[in-house]
Amino acid sequence: MTTEHRMIDIVLVLYAAAAAGYFISGGQRWLGKVSFWLASIGLAANLIALVNRVSLSGRLPLSNGYEFLLSFTFITVLMYLLYEILSENKKASGVVMLMGTLLITAIIVLMPQQIGETTPLMPALKSPWLTVHVITAIIAYSAFTLAAGLAIIQLRNAISTDDSAIYKIVSAGFAMLSLSIVLGAIWAEQVWGSYWTWDPKETWALVTWIIYAIYLHLHRQRGWRGNNARILVIIGFLLVLFTFFGVNYLLPGLHSYA
């Protein structure tokens, strides 16, 4: 057990406790508050784990599956807590914190060998284009995760028809995903001489991008507001998960080191 393993465990426990707290609070204010603080302390622990990672490896925590997930979870929870503070709406907290918990669990289950290890970057990965490609991907994925969390709650409660928050968050995520795909293509062109090869990762990222493009058009031009729109947002999120986990662990491809 390295210090890093222990840090990941602490983050996991805090996120799981926050999720559980939200789920059993049933509207009780004090439990909701406790959960908020558990989530915030979890976020701080997540940040410390990231900083520790940076000091170990001497570079941004973006270069393998473990670092990606740790940053991805951090940004997701950060965005969620900001959303909760700004909207004063706690309804999605259980779902989002559960997603955070599952993402950290995925690190422990799927890539335990990467925790506490640093290996030098292979030459292809040494590129500023790659850095901005991954940062924008993480922000996009986090936005889509949060949007899906909100969509799930609205779908279940079937009350408020105001989905403007979801629309705004998906818009931000879509812009980031667009940047990420173009920046990734620029990187691929520099390193291999082809900006698009239809490898599985690229293909599934494109499918994800298309789903959200369709959502944005239908939302704005066709006035899609109800459950159909929410289901599209959730499908988009499932595609995000497949693009990351499915492609890395089920299919072979150029990106299998990511």
């Binding site: 030098p120 667009s178 173009v182 620029i186 390193v191 499918v207 704005r220």
Partner: protein, 330 residues
């Protein structure tokens, strides 16, 4: 007119997008090798291109017709410009990618240290030039893994140096519309052959080559160059660094294997009476991907427009939805 409206409508565009998404998902799972080059998929992309090109033209004519009205509200102007850039960017990318698939070329080119290659022998270009490899080298991390590959190249035109450039991973050479990328590398081995009483001669062997002799029926297979030989590991190299360079070879009589060895450089190995070989040195060669892509400027411009446009629309000042869509309504 009905037809034009149908072909350029957003609904058609969205249906095409959905079909392309579905086809990509299914195609990449079932036929990952060739689905995206097959004509049905290309046809879908062509339809999307036509639809989006017309849709973009419509939007821009509307944009300029209503310019006076739009420009009163700079937020709407900003958003409309962003939308135009975003959709036009995608159209440019589709055109550029189409140009590459019909007019572009990409080949793998191996050059031995010291050798020069005439570029129009490997890829069609208008103004030919030559590429010379001076040296190929690998830089290592502390743990022995490679940290960078360097090919010191020189571009020659009419025998004169036009450009000197070290190509490495992520740093391609660009010259007159041709780009060369560090792709791979390998080694050839200089083998000095002493065959009977004849004067020794040197042959250049690739991994896997056989050497035959006049004075014996035995043959030698130059199996593999191993930069960091470790008997514990055997045929795999421990690292890419030349810590203990050896050449693994095997000796045959007909098809019968007589023995296997891992020879250091500079030591003669007796194969039979009067016949010996000596591995003298390895000579690295670089493998470059050499590419011409007349569509690349368009694709790059399209990508930049797409990035800029999408940020202007989705992060820009959000004007009220009603006003904005009224400008664009058909």
């Amino acid at each position: 007119m009905h037809f034009y409206k149908f072909v350029s409508s957003m609904t058609t565009g969205l249906v095409l997008l959905a079909l392309i998404g579905l086809a990509s998902a299914v195609g990449s799972s079932l036929w990952p090798e060739n689905f995206f080059q097959a004509w049905p998929f290309r046809l879908l992309l062509l339809f999307l291109f036509i639809n989006m090109a017309l849709c973009t033209i419509n939007t821009s004519t509307r944009f300029f017709r209503h310019r006076a009205k739009i420009s009163k509200n700079w937020k709407i102007l900003f958003r409309s410009a962003g939308l135009l850039m975003l959709h036009a960017g995608i159209v440019l990318i589709l055109i550029g990618a189409g140009l590459y698939s019909y007019l572009g070329h990409s080949v793998q080119l191996s050059i031995l240290e010291g050798d020069t290659v005439e570029i129009n022998k490997v890829i069609p270009v208008d103004n030919s030039f030559s590429l010379k490899l001076h040296t190929f080298s690998i830089e290592f991390n502390a743990d022995g893994s490679p940290s960078q590959y360097y090919s010191e190249m020189e571009v020659l035109e009419a025998g004169k140096t036009a450009l000197a450039k070290t190509v490495s991973v992520n740093h391609p050479l660009v010259y007159k519309g041709v780009k060369a990328y560090q792709s791979s590398y390998g080694y050839l081995t200089d083998v000095v052959v002493q065959d009977g009483d004849a004067a020794p001669k040197t042959v250049l062997a690739q991994d896997g080559d056989f050497i035959q002799f006049a004075d014996t029926t035995r043959t030698v297979k130059v199996f593999k160059y191993i930069p960091h030989f470790d008997p514990e590991i055997g045929l795999e190299t421990k690292s890419m660094e030349p810590v203990n360079p050896r050449v693994v070879y095997s000796v045959y009589e007909g098809t019968e294997l007589l023995g296997v060895g891992a020879a250091p450089f500079g030591e003669p190995i007796s194969i039979d009476e009067n016949v010996s070989i000596e591995f003298k040195q390895v000579r690295p060669y670089t493998v470059l991907t050499v590419k011409t892509d007349p569509g690349l400027p368009l694709v790059t411009t399209g990508g930049l427009l797409l990035m800029l446009g999408v940020c202007m629309v989705l992060f820009g000042p959000s004007s009220r939805k009603k006003e904005v869509s009224s400008v664009h309504d058909n």
